[in-house]
């Protein structure tokens, strides 16, 4: 449970930032935002500039408009994913005593092309639409078990009952890791996601090492004894013509853990909250389940929830503001998908919209796991609607949210008769 977090101290505005493009918004602790994130975003669209600078959390740009997010995501030369430049990381690592253990990094999410292209390629096939379709039945089985288990009580805290265990168990299955260690993995991922906001490189490093320590035995075993899992599959691939090594395997484990769990947890929960609040939508989807995939897409647009960071790589004029090399930028994708310049009546959830959103990002870093994520989301909604009677938000419990890089409910109490 996250405690209400105090506002971070405001830093002084740098000379190149004008008053007109400054707006005070703490993406972790803004009071209205953590009370109801997406309502607050609609309010930002009315009150804040389309690209603004906030003095909170060390001072950074926020890209609010759809166009700014789209353009910046695809301009990887100006907007680097290396929040700390790799050259700097490598220089730091070079100072460690010889024989220090490999320091795992979440490649390819925090590196730029051409290195990015090389390290993303091996993962592609494992997460392609075809590979993921093959998993659909087992994901459905897992979702069904979790929903049936919470059903008899007539009420449940949905995040811990379904939204958290589902992606974790899907992962353990895909990776071929022992299910007994589930809590251990989940705990490390939780710590990791919460720490991303705090710029304490040592703590981040410790956490990455923890993840790889948990996985090491399985990694080594699958190299010698390949099975039908992703680890075995990745051992068979190459990077830039060279055979896969243990260091690269550790990097893959770290990025998949960091990017593929908390995202799905929050996405499932935001969608379930909307369904619980809209019995008429539940009725429509129960009557025609073929509409559920369109419903999922509109959920992803209406409640987009990830905020990837960037570093300005060179001085630039961007959408009317002056940015300097080294400035921090947030791709505020939840803002992009609620932009009225892009979507008519963005606040309305419209099943009939032909939704094209950027909840999974755009450009070369576009979510590698989107096909898996879509299957998980669709299957959960399908099974909830099929197995539960009409469900609603529990009347005596308020939904509480967290802000940050992955936005969503901390707790979500649902009830049904």
């Amino acid at each position: 449970m996250t405690q209400a977090r105090p506002l971070s101290p405001a830093v002084a505005r740098p000379a190149h930032v004008t008053d007109a493009v400054t707006y005070d918004f703490d993406m972790f602790a803004d009071e209205a935002y953590v009370k109801n994130p997406h309502d607050r975003i609609l309010d930002l669209h009315k009150n804040a500039p389309p690209v603004f600078w906030t003095p909170r959390n060390g001072g950074h740009w926020m890209l609010l408009s759809h166009k700014a997010n789209f353009d910046a995501s695809r301009d990887v030369e100006t907007f680097s994913s290396e929040v700390i430049p790799q050259a700097q990381v490598q220089a730091m690592l070079a100072q460690r005593p010889p024989g220090s253990p490999h320091f795992p990094q979440p490649w390819p999410i925090n590196i730029d092309p051409p290195l990015h292209t090389m390290h993303r390629a091996p993962l592609q096939k494992a997460f392609s639409p075809k590979a993921i379709m093959a998993l659909k039945d087992s994901i459905r089985e897992l979702a069904g078990e979790l929903i049936d288990a919470m059903k008899p009580a007539g009420t449940a805290e949905f995040v811990s009952a379904v939204a958290e265990p589902l992606p974790v168990q899907v992962f353990l299955k895909m990776f071929g890791l022992p299910v007994e260690r589930q809590q251990e993995y989940r705990q490390v991922v939780k710590e990791h996601m919460e720490s991303i906001s705090v710029s304490d490189p040592r703590a981040v490093m410790m956490r990455m090492l923890k993840i790889t320590a948990i996985m090491r035995d399985t990694l080594l075993d699958r190299k010698e004894n390949p099975k039908d899992d992703i680890i075995s599959m990745l051992w068979q691939t190459e990077i830039d013509g060279k055979p896969m090594g243990m260091d690269e395997m550790e990097n893959f484990c770290v990025v998949l853990f960091a990017a593929g769990l908390d995202t799905v947890v929050n996405g499932i929960s935001l969608g379930a909250r909307h369904l619980a609040d809209h019995p008429e939508l539940q009725r429509e989807l129960r009557a025609d389940p073929t509409l559920i995939s369109a419903a999922t897409e509109e959920m992803l647009r209406r409640y987009t929830f990830t905020v990837p960071p960037r570093r300005v790589n060179k001085d630039t004029e961007f959408h009317g503001v002056t940015m300097k090399a080294g400035d921090k930028v947030m791709l505020f994708l939840p803002g992009a998908d609620l932009d009225s310049r892009e979507y008519a009546n963005p606040e309305q959830y419209q099943l009939k919209r032909e939704t094209v959103h950027i909840a999974f990002g755009a450009g070369p870093h576009r979510c590698l796991g989107s096909h898996l994520a879509r299957v998980e989301l669709n299957v959960v909604y399908e099974e909830m609607l099929a197995r539960l009677p009409e469900f609603r938000l529990a009347s005596d419990k308020e939904v509480r949210y967290h802000g940050g890089h992955v936005v969503g409910p901390d707790e979500l109490w649902l009830s049904w008769n």
């Binding site: 695809r74 392609s128 639409p129 032909e354 959103h357 950027i358 999974f360 755009a362």
Partner: protein
């Protein structure tokens, strides 16, 4: 009707194929496999929808001239 795709900019969303799998072939990684498609008569509407579905906006539909010449 023809479809042109800026293939080098494809990032593998596979949204085009989600609309019309037979029109938009993907490679094994889930990226678009071709850069040009001849749309069979009768499938124009589907082709337009597939093009609109691309989040990267790299699919361009070239409508036939009104007199029917391609």
């Amino acid at each position: 009707m023809k479809i042109r795709i800026e293939k080098a900019s494809c990032v593998g969303n596979a949204r085009c194929a989600a609309v019309a799998p037979q029109l938009f072939p993907l490679d094994d990684d889930g990226y678009i496999a071709v850069s040009e498609i001849d749309v069979p008569p009768g499938q124009e509407q589907l082709a337009r929808r597939g093009a609109r579905a691309c989040p990267e906006r790299i699919i361009v539909v070239e409508e036939d001239a009104p007199d029917g010449t391609p």
